[in-house]
Amino acid sequence: MPSDYFPLFIMLVVSVGFAAIGIGVSALLGPRRPTAIKGQTYESGMTAIGTARRRVWIRYYLVAVIFILFDIEIIFFYPWAVVFRMAAEFLFLEMALFVAILLVGYVYVWRKGGFDWY
């Protein structure tokens, strides 16, 4: 029933409100005297070189891709798990096939070094 979720909505409002009030109060209470030096980013005390808006390593993207696909696997696993007892053997075979196919991809990624972080 949607009404079950109404408290979560209230909690969302209250938590975001709490965070906003915290930021607001701090902004009111704290001093604010910005200078150019303070506005620099911290690079171990040295003057910052260039901007951080540069490209980073492609591997982070690969991790996210692999994650997406396994996230989908999880989201398939959950409804499967809650109905598992209804027809355990049959459902087991269905999921075994699903996982077996995904494992091919997993092994592929492994063999291609997708999990190696050097």
Binding site: I58, Y61, V65, I68, L69, I72, I75, F76
Partner: protein, 100 residues
């Protein structure tokens, strides 16, 4: 009382905005986001009809669409990355090799 039209009209509005995003932005990533927006708008319509018709097929379908969208994004963004690495550029208007 909410009716199915509330949700479908919201869906139509979101769909149009998604289409607009695809048409007027030059960054392929944002174009992609527009596509996701359109997909989501359609999903909303599916779920709304599913709910108001008391038929779950629409919801299962949306679930499958989630999967397809995830796979699509994975490959699509891989293409963007590949193009970017080849051309050092992600402006779709400068990728015009489709030219006849």
């Amino acid at each position: 009382m909410l009716t199915v039209n509330h949700f479908t009209i919201l869906s139509a509005v979101l769909f149009s905005i998604g289409a607009l995003t695809v048409l007027i932005r030059r960054n392929p990533l944002i174009i992609f986001m527009g596509i996701e927006l359109m997909l989501n708008a359609v999903n909303l319509a599916f779920v709304a009809f599913s709910h108001f018709l008391d038929d779950m097929s629409g919801q299962v379908f949306v679930f499958i669409v989630l999967t397809v969208a995830a796979a699509e994004v994975a490959v699509g963004l891989a293409l963007v990355v590949a193009i970017f690495r080849a051309r050092e550029n992600v402006d779709v208007d400068e990728i015009d090799m489709l030219k006849g």
